[in-house]
């Protein structure tokens, strides 16, 4: 279970941080320059603040977007299962792209998302029967709780279900409330 802005990202404070903030969860002070992991929502706001021309906090791009991963995706977009690298590979990546205008990462995410996230998933349910669809919706949701593909799958799935129900022409007849 998760939400993109809860994901932790690495960075460093440019000044020491007192123990009372309990940044590491161990109740100790954090000397300046120490690498810490903060939830994205906090890191994102902290980088906006300056003190004497210096940022309070420098966010770093998480390792999941390192050159090895990028090159692998560029070499073969379908060969990398980004969801296994990180459940929020795509969503978190978009945040970095927007925040830091990383062009190459944007290109990589475009490749990764089009091929692995959308097209492949789409094939999986396109020809399922309504019953399989019903069952699979539950399974999918459980197994891939974190991924944005779940949201996309749901969208496609709900469309498909609405179509099947329309095509079967099953209009509910008004029912008698009296039992015989």
């Amino acid at each position: 279970m998760g939400i993109p802005w809860l994901q932790k990202v690495p960075g460093r404070f440019n000044d020491s941080v007192g123990a009372e903030l309990n940044l590491t969860g161990e109740g100790v002070a954090v000397p300046s320059g120490t690498k810490v992991e903060l939830p994205y929502w906090l890191a994102e706001s902290l980088v906006e603040f300056y003190q004497r021309d210096e940022t309070l906090f420098d966010m770093e791009t998480p390792r999941i977007y390192n050159n090895r991963v990028r090159n692998a995706i560029i070499a073969g977009p379908t060969s990398v299962d980004t969801r296994r690298i990180h459940p929020y590979f795509h969503r978190l990546g978009i945040k970095f792209v927007q925040k830091f205008e990383q062009e190459q990462l944007a290109q990589v995410l475009k490749l990764a998302s089009i091929y692995t996230q959308f097209s492949m998933r789409c094939d999986m349910f396109a020809n399922m029967s309504p019953l399989t669809l019903l069952i699979s919706r539950g399974n999918w949701t459980r197994q891939n709780d974190n991924v944005c593909t779940v949201a996309l799958f749901r969208l496609a799935h709900d469309s498909a279900m609405a179509m099947k129900s329309w095509q079967s022409g099953s209009k509910p007849l008004l029912q008698s409330a009296v039992s015989y």
């Binding site: 000044d15 007192g18 009372e20 929502w41 906090l42 003190q51 007849l173 008004l174 029912q175 008698s176």
Partner: protein, 197 residues
Amino acid sequence: MSTFADNAYKLAKEAKRTMEILAPYNEDLVRSICREIRFLCSLIDKIKADMKSELQQNPSAITTVLVHHLTVKRSKRVLMAYHRQRVNRVKQIIWDQGNVLSSDNRIALSGPEIDFAKDYSELMTSYKQNFMEIDLGGNGGIGLDPPDDLFIEVRVLKDAGEVQTEYGVLNLKRGSQFYVRRTDVESLIRSGYLKHV
């Protein structure tokens, strides 16, 4: 104390998990988050009061104040989102079913939510008055399905004699079949005189 709004995390996750149902209102969690916000605000005030003009010279203190401040805002945002999601649920029930206070729902709703439901139902009803010709539905009335079968085919299961409808007189003899206005016969179908075919 907890790190960075742990309780707000919990509530955000709960909201996500219960997106499609009306889960019981999590009063305890909401209260803890409010308590946390009050506590953080008092910390901020205290630091500010202690340091006064020196605050600007102390990056560490500034960081502390800032993190607390951002945590307060984040928690508040989660509270808003949680309540907004529930409000949407409540509104859905009012439009579709009307009886928001069925026993199941009553258990799930908070006091303020029950008040909101009542007020919202009144607000919506007063807006509807402007369009009497159209009937906007709501409160369990007409839905938003296209009028596909305004008239329906029915077969008479039990003799019921002559029945006056808006559309004219129907002589309901067992075995006969009619094409009639749906709304005219709904109750006859429910009570077993007619069958929708």
